[in-house]
């Protein structure tokens, strides 16, 4: 029938841009770096397939140490962001009066939209040797000479938590907002102490938000580039820096692609593990907002 | 000449048959309702008439011409949607003008017709208003005007009163009936509310599980239901289960599960002695009093409680076999002697007692 044909045609018209986009710009490029990572250079313009790049990665401690370091610090940052963000989200969603609730939420959202670069730059202005904090400390007389607060791991962590904490707060607020206060009342009414109520009612209820926030934050941290480089300096040993280095500085695409695949595989594994442990699904947690 | 005919219309979704061999004929200018519980297929039937679903088999004719091949925007059947579907991005005037614009009417024509239809529904000054500024009843009328300005052959209404509160719903029933007279157009009205169907319609089709149980005037449905479903769905009834003892002259003597013997008018229903049967009696057919005539059923019991509701008040009577029966009483009459605890003698005519074969249980 005519209408059926029109239906099929319009479905085709809608599918085409989607498929072009997802294939040409997402799926094939990802397969492309997997392909390149499996390529060994045996001579000028001569390649064979093999796992040499991965072998090189395993054999060079600096490489896998960097990946491990990136992973450990990303997990630490995720945990800290949850710790720092949860009380704030809880306040915004459950305690603050309605009017200030919206205002506080917007106050959280606005820095979310400010570029990483600007935020990192702000930290540099604050923390470097001639920066505000060093100057202020000298003025009060706590320290004698200027101190360098940049280029150490603690600063990198503080800066990273700063960059990502808002991505933790936003999903937490939207989940906690959905929680009915009567649940808490019932919990208290049934004789639960404050800690029990928090552990048995609030945390399980907020779980989808916690998982969504942690996934986003972890991926953002592991994939971040600016903050570790600018705040950690040349010795920050961040894995994305290695990728950039291989690709742009050394022009060693095979090894760079290998690192890219490893980073993606590794972060995906951590996310998968997280989803598995908490029983959540990717599409529902990430696509909600 | 019929405005709308459906012939043996069937719609299947996979293994599920939503509409099962339905036929109907609606004469011009009448108010026709399809009454049925939710999920009975009435919405699917209406969507087929409007062209949003294709029937699996059967035919739909509008003014005698089959419309099966024509898409929804080419059929001269207009529809008032359940939630009205007024366009929130347009004001009232633009909403009403929408169909005319689609037809390519001239500006002057549009202005004139929109003004005229607003005049007819009694809202001459709302053209510039936004939809959300209207009251529930006004929205209702605008939704009808938006269709009527196109002078459709048939106007379909899909439970448009469902979203209104009770008071407004009562008022809109009357208003819809008046509007239908005024426009003199065939209305096909879908509802699950029997009082809406009875109050407004010239004819009602009672639908259940994809089929029409009975088509008739409201009076016919009320007084002469042809199936147990119609008897139970249209109006209130007292209901008993029993076994047929004897049948003579279209009257069946039935012994209820409580042990009472009731004589019922079994008319066309195919009952024979030994069958189990369902008996229906309307509360307003039962009267208090000890009179015993040849053609009356009688029962005795005690008044259990009174359900006051103005002219629709009821008494709950616990009969000797421990069952409760609703009886209509005149609640407005303050000298009413009936009090809880009073002994009660009930009687009603054989002719007002309907019985049908009981469904397999």
């Amino acid at each position: 029938m005519l209408q059926k044909d029109a239906q099929r045609l319009s479905l085709l018209l809608l599918l085409t841009p989607f498929l072009l986009w997802i294939l040409l710009l997402v799926v094939l490029p990802q397969l492309g770096i997997v392909g390149i990572s499996l390529r060994e250079k045996v001579g000028p313009r001569q390649f064979t397939f093999g796992l040499a790049n991965y072998l090189a990665f395993v054999q060079e401690p600096i490489y896998w140490n960097t990946l491990l370091r990136t992973a450990v610090m990303s997990i630490l940052v995720t945990f800290l962001a949850l710790l720092v963000g949860f009380p704030v989200a809880y306040y915004i969603a459950k305690i603050a009066p309605y009017r200030s609730q919206t205002a506080l939420f917007l106050l959280c959202l606005v820095p979310l939209w400010v570029s990483d670069l600007v935020r990192a730059f702000g930290w540099i202005v604050l923390l470097r040797e001639t920066g505000l904090i060093s100057g202020a400390l000298q003025a009060i007389g706590i320290i004698k000479g200027p101190i360098e607060l940049l280029y150490n791991d603690a600063t990198v962590v503080v800066g990273l938590v700063y960059t990502v904490v808002l991505f933790m707060i936003v999903p937490l607020v939207s989940t906690l907002n959905g929680m009915d206060n009567s649940l808490l009342e019932a919990g208290h009414n049934l004789g639960g102490s404050r800690i029990t109520v928090f552990r048995r009612i609030v945390v399980p209820y907020a779980m989808p938000g916690i998982v969504a926030g942690c996934i986003i934050v972890f991926m953002m941290t592991a994939g971040s580039y600016l903050t570790p480089i600018l705040l950690g300096g040349k010795n920050s040993m961040w894995f994305t820096e290695q990728i950039y280095d291989q690709f742009i500085t050394r022009y060693n695409w095979e090894s760079g692609a290998t690192f890219g695949v490893l980073l993606l595989a590794f972060t995906s594994f951590v996310v998968w593990l997280g989803l598995r442990l908490t029983g959540q699904k990717l599409a529902t947690t990430v696509a909600k907002d | 000449m019929y405005d709308l005919q459906c012939e043996n219309l069937t719609k299947r979704f996979g293994a599920f048959t939503a509409v099962d061999g339905v036929s109907l004929e609606i004469p011009g200018g009448s108010f026709f309702s399809i009454l049925g519980p939710s999920g009975c297929g009435k919405t699917t039937l209406m969507r087929m008439i409007a062209g949003f679903e294709d029937p699996s088999s059967g035919d739909i004719k509008i003014k005698g011409r089959s419309v099966l091949g024509s898409p929804p925007n080419k059929r001269n059947v207009k529809m008032v949607f359940q939630h009205l579907a007024l366009f929130p991005m347009m004001n009232v005037g633009e909403n009403i003008a929408y169909g005319l614009r689609c037809r390519g009417a001239s500006k002057a024509d549009i202005t004139r017709k929109v003004g005229a239809v607003l005049e007819r529904i009694g809202l001459p000054d709302v053209a510039q208003k936004q939809i959300h500024q209207l009251s529930g009843g006004q929205k209702q009328r605008i939704a009808i005007a938006r269709c009527m300005v196109l002078e459709p052959d048939v106007l379909l209404l899909d439970e448009p009163l469902g979203a209104l509160d009770l008071k407004l719903r009562e008022r809109m029933k009357i208003e819809l009936k008046l509007l239908q007279h005024q426009f003199d157009t065939t209305f096909l009205y879908i509802t699950h509310d029997q009082s809406e169907a009875l109050v407004m319609s010239d004819h009602v089709a009672v639908m259940n599980a994809g089929k029409f149980e009975q088509i008739g005037t409201p009076q016919e449905l009320y007084h002469n239901p042809r199936t147990a479903f119609v008897a139970g769905f249209v109006g209130d009834s007292n209901r008993w289960h029993g076994k047929v003892n004897r049948i003579s002259n279209g009257e069946a003597e039935i012994v209820t599960s409580g042990g009472d013997t009731i004589v019922a008018n079994c008319g066309a229903s195919a009952l024979s002695p030994g069958d189990s049967a369902e008996i229906f009696v309307r509360p307003d057919c039962i009267a208090f009093g000890g009179v015993r005539r040849e053609t009356q059923n009688t029962l005795t019991g005690t008044v259990d409680s009174l359900l006051f509701n103005g002219a629709n008040s009821r008494a709950l009577v616990r009969i000797d076999s421990r069952e409760l029966i609703e009886v209509a009483i005149n609640g407005v009459d303050r000298s009413s002697p009936i009090k809880p605890g009073d002994p009660a003698h009930l009687n009603w005519a054989f002719a007002d007692t309907q019985c049908f074969p009981a469904k397999e249980r």
Partner: protein, 291 residues
Amino acid sequence: MNVAALQSRAFRLIYKGYLVAFFAYLAAPLLAAGVFAFNDSQFPALPWNGFTLDWFFSDTEPKIGMFHDRRLMRGLQTSLYVGIIVSAMAVAVGTCNAFLFERRDFPFKSALFVLLVIPLVIPGVIIGISVLVFASMIANGVEQALGQDWSILRPGLTLVILGQFSFLTTITSLVIAARLRKFDISLEEAALNLGASRPRVLATVTLPFLAPALTAAFLVAFLVSFENFNTTLMLVGSDAPLTITMYDRMVKVGSTPVLNAVSLFLMVGSGILALLSVVLQRDKAPPGSAT
């Protein structure tokens, strides 16, 4: 009494204190970056030498304001150019995707939906290198097969646009799909019933309903594109967008107050656009109900 609130007074005080500290933490680097744009000094540091707007408007050495800094202005232009093109593309494809996933059924729909979401969780650097690698593969293939050099597939603005487009489309699709989900399909049926053709229904009913989401999606995409660094860094050629220019300046020249000026400019700009998109995405309360 609000049971969610905490009862002990001391605890409440600590909690309030924590919140204040948190918002101070949020504001501190932004304030530091912003305030020193107005310091009349060669360095974005104490001491405070008095208020000046030179870092925005001065056109004389050594204090060249951002609006007279040729390279920064070129970067700004490039960013605007990239942002507008990429957002328009992402909104167009995102609209198609929204209709595809909200309205249609087709084989492997849920698997394809996961694919749609995935670009959000791929690190930007990896999106950058994957697009770079894939484009080069095609370019090399074309060069070998046809002997032509498709420079369009070498690092440059086209690749920047494609790279950003690849993940911005996910964002726009989700924003538009969320709005489309709220659309009452009977509005379309009503329009059809009143005699409108399919294209007319789309133009007069569906798209006007989607308009706020389309605008919001455009703004969000523009913001993210404008501020994007990781993906862009891998794909950029000779024409660098503002963030890359600013980063170059930071690394090569060190921080000067002109960077503070750019930072403030970015903050104000993105703040305004972000607020606008939030306002647009919020369901409008009927104007009549407010007063």
